[in-house]
Symmetry: C2
Subunit: 595 residues, 2 copies
């Protein structure tokens, strides 16, 4: 039989005991991490959320406790009373916060026993992930995951306090809502009362937060679960958490200022780091020009260099013909990269092919000039101009890409990111932010023969670009902004359209007819006619932010009960089969049963 807790009350958490408590009589409770028998004494490392404390059991002090301690095995649940004492000389453990002290136990309870766990909780043990997920409650006992969850709580708390101080109020929006058009695939929930109809789980509270602005709530935020039924990638989960905000009577500069303040509070609270504000702000065009991508990693330089002009007249047809056809020739200077092997250069070339590149040229800069298959195509003057433009020095590796602007930028931009990782330029403890603004509002979709919204259909164009909606819509820029951290987009938003006529024009451009618009977004369109204020907002992905803050390699390490890449929960076995009676009530049946 287990001992009963009765009226015992814990006085301290294990990890909180230090030399300050020496002489105090304390009561601690937790899990036996390790037991050692030494010279007639028994030592137990007792662990709780805050840390580990050593219990010393001496049969001369209390025989009953010592006898109980003899039964203790890993992960037994104990309560212990005793006096905090300095550890005997030579046994102090300076690596532990509690390493100077131990508790001389006078009373011990075994509150529960434990089978031998399927894996050791030592944090360095490598365990197959499916086992970790099946026994998630044990995996979560490991200090690394405890720390992640504690930090997640701290971050959510910091975010909430900040927004509250800034006059935001948290409002809960519905989980059982309506299918979101223009988005990813929805999770559907059959309605029993309204048979044949379905709720959808929200991909974001977008429409509701805009309505809250129409309602005059002025500043809204919510830390909220959102849902997308997409095939999962490594850093995606079917349900994910957003820090969702919306503000009225503001322009985008004000939104960015306030959000920077939030991010700074989070980094200070979670990591003790003081961020430099304001954060850099890059236009989309500049981001593409300098970094090839709209989510640049600013932890290192190695910017893309446009040499189209320099090579337009060269004898190297691969470059000059691309330049003549309106393409781009761009280059990277990998400082001191001339040591790359042929194999490594081939791997880099293969990497760029993922992004559609047809090939990549390389040059090693030596004391004797360019060592490269393409060196012979350039005159001395051209080489000199290129070296100057690229800041080439002996020992550098130059990489060239000639292609359409889209492919040249993306392939070389991704290669830059890849090299930043490979060369160790992208350090996990370095945090470099940038806003990217002025995204295109619309892109033309050849397949559907209509425009698509780059952000979403409610994003406002730049005031000065509104006339372009009639003349050259894809040139219109959006009042949108993404916050990029270390090459990951951690948040994105926009100023919304508050003018009903502009919103209708947008739906036209998106090929959404008046009737369809009314059916899908009617309540928003109606709302815009009843005094909608200028407003805008943003949403941050909390899971990805937590990955960056904790340095976790997997999104599953920052979520208490995550799902696999097949969207299953190995712990609870969800999703599972249900009784046909339940389906009958919902008015649905399985298609497979029809065969």
């Amino acid at each position: 039989m287990n001992d009963k807790l009765g009226s015992w009350e814990r006085t301290h958490r294990c990890g909180d005991l230090t030399a300050e408590q020496i002489g105090e009589h304390v009561c601690v409770m937790g899990w036996a991490q390790r037991r050692r028998d030494h010279g007639g004494l028994i030592f137990i490392d007792l662990r709780d959320r805050e840390g580990v404390i050593q219990l010393a059991l001496d049969p001369d002090r209390d025989l009953a406790s010592h006898q109980k301690a003899e039964q203790v095995r890993s992960e037994f649940v104990l309560a212990a009373r005793g006096k905090v004492s300095p550890r005997p000389e030579g046994t102090v453990n300076p690596k532990m916060k509690t390493g100077e002290v131990e508790i001389e136990i006078t009373e011990l309870l075994i509150l529960n026993r434990s089978e031998t766990p399927p894996f050791m909780l030592d944090e360095f043990t490598e365990v197959a992930e499916n086992i970790r997920l099946k026994y998630r409650y044990l995996d979560l006992r490991r200090p690394a995951l405890q720390k992640n969850m504690l930090m997640r709580h701290l971050v959510a708390k910091t975010v909430r306090n900040y927004f509250d101080q800034q006059g935001f109020i948290e409002v809960e929006t519905p989980v059982l809502t309506k299918s979101t058009p223009e988005g990813a695939r929805d999770y559907l929930v059959p309605s029993r009362v309204n048979t044949g109809r379905f709720y959808a789980l929200p991909q974001s509270p977008q429409l509701f937060k805009q309505l809250l602005m129409v309602s005059g709530f002025d500043r809204y935020f919510q830390i909220v679960k959102c849902f997308r039924d997409e095939d999962l990638r490594a850093d995606r989960q079917p349900e994910f958490t957003q820090i969702d905000c919306e503000m009225s009577f503001i322009n985008r500069g004000q939104v960015m200022d306030i959000m920077e303040g939030m991010v700074a509070k989070v980094f200070k609270a979670a990591l003790g780091i003081d961020l430099t504000l304001p954060m850099p702000r890059l236009s989309y065009a500049e981001a593409l020009d300098r970094f090839g991508v709209d989510n640049p990693d600013l932890r290192f330089g190695m910017e893309l260099i446009d040499i189209t002009e320099q090579v337009a007249g060269s004898q190297f047809k691969v470059f000059s013909s691309v330049a003549a056809e309106g393409g781009l020739v761009k280059a990277l200077n990998v400082k001191e990269g001339a040591t790359f092997s042929r194999k490594e250069l081939d791997d880099l070339t293969d990497f760029t092919k993922i992004y559609g590149a047809k090939g990549m040229a390389w040059v090693k800069v030596t004391a004797d000039g360019w060592q490269s298959p393409i060196a012979k195509f350039f005159t001395a003057d051209e080489l000199s101009a290129l070296n100057e433009k690229m800041g080439a020095e002996v020992g550098d590796l130059l990489l060239f890409m000639a292609d359409t602007p889209a492919i040249a930028n993306e392939a070389l931009g991704r290669l830059r990111g890849h090299l930043g990782q490979k060369l160790g330029l992208a350090r996990k403890d370095d945090f470099q932010f940038t806003w990217v603004t002025d995204f295109p509002l619309l892109e033309w979709d050849d397949e559907q023969h209509r425009h698509l919204a780059v952000h979403h259909p409610f994003t406002a164009p730049l005031e000065e670009d509104i006339p372009l909606l009639d003349t050259d819509p894809t040139q219109a820029r959006a009042q949108a902004y993404d916050l990029v951290l270390n090459g990951s987009e951690i948040g994105g938003g926009s100023i919304r359209i508050h003018d009903q006529s502009v919103q209708s024009r947008m739906f036209d451009l998106l090929g959404i007819g008046a009737e369809e618009a009314q059916e899908k977004f009617g309540f928003l369109l109606d709302a815009l006619t009843f005094g909608a204020p200028p407003h805008g907002g943003i949403a941050f992905g909390l899971d990805r932010l937590m990955m960056i803050l904790t340095g976790a390699d997997s999104i599953r390490d920052v979520i208490a009960f995550p799902k696999t890449q097949k969207a299953t929960c190995l712990l609870s076995d969800a999703p599972n089969e249900v009784d046909d009676k339940q389906l009958q009530e919902l008015g649905i049946r399985l298609r497979t049963k029809q065969k």
Copy 2:
């Protein structure tokens, strides 16, 4: 065309301006609530979240603003700059916070126009609820609903800060999870990737929070959406919000102490009220004896008086036969209730029939003794004993119920609550709490021929009642506790079973076989074998708590976007029909389509 916000920045919210700001140049933004033209001047009441301020537009000060103001109608969105000034003598409005001042406008922007709203936002206007719900974004502009949402934010913030200070961490549990056995009807979500299988939306995070305790998180809380697919009553919604908590290494007294602290913080923050702690604690048996119900309203006395003993020997067979058969005869003394009309007494009798009562006897106490059809059955000694037992005085109304203990208690208990409302004894601004403890653990279900868990299958029995599980299970009391406020259960919880053998015994009693238990709760049973600590918790219904705090009559007045009693959203038209393509992907079809 609307004016553009440009770089205008708001300096104050409308409701924040008082005589303190006189002389300051300010910028405010909001909605035109009312416009008056008076003596060549135009006055506009501008409203935002914080209140209303009067704008004064004088053509001699700025003609352009005055001309714009002439176009302004209700709910137009304005921005205005000007100087805060005292209102002219005789126009001060002492009822308004801002009533001493107005803004002498020097610049006005019309940021957006408004159609005539379908209803006036004046808070005293009675509007049909279906119209309010369809135009929810307008309804939410009304000060009463703004106040409710602001208070809801304040309450959530207060709860979070309190729990954080008490060492709780907020952990998010899954929304896409597994069907909860033993509960209400689940909402199901078909899985596309795992065709033929379904997630369920959580009715509560019960199992996950227990697992978090097994994981050593020690103290968990979450403000979390839960879901039940039940036919809706007036105060129910398909999705509702719980304040959910769980703690390790505690007994139930400690849980109640900590939760009282939370409730006290909430009442202080929301209403400025200092609650008296500790709160009363009643056993279930005492609650039934004194109040007839397990959720007694303690705002007034009028306790149930057990007169079974006094009437057991009387000539009134209706009473004495019930007493002889083990039933109860109980009474209420309605002080000064002798003025009730015959019609009123008949209505009260009808009320008790809802709860299964077969009849009710009444007595008016007059200076001449009992005025009642039953007076003649009692001797003078019996009358005297009854009067003494009931504290009867001239002018009182005595009501009697004789029935099985269950019916006598419930019918008279509900009648007591009903009379408390009717007689105005239950004041909305009076807040009386009580804990109710020692609930039965199990009840026998004649239909299913098995025991049912009164709370849920994980509730621990009182230590001293564990032997009763083998001898007389329905006599075993649970380590459960409900917090009752003004006759409503606002929270309920229990100490959980942490011993795997006790949990198995419970499943036996509930008629859940080993295999079924393993299939449904296997992960919890497994978790109990790997070192589960003693633990317990509670969940509060935030929506109902908000109803009480705000004095709202409907749960829909404390939820931003509520659903109707048919579980529909009149604003977004959810749930709605979906494309057959979506159903195909999910591997389901509608049954109705099969006809």
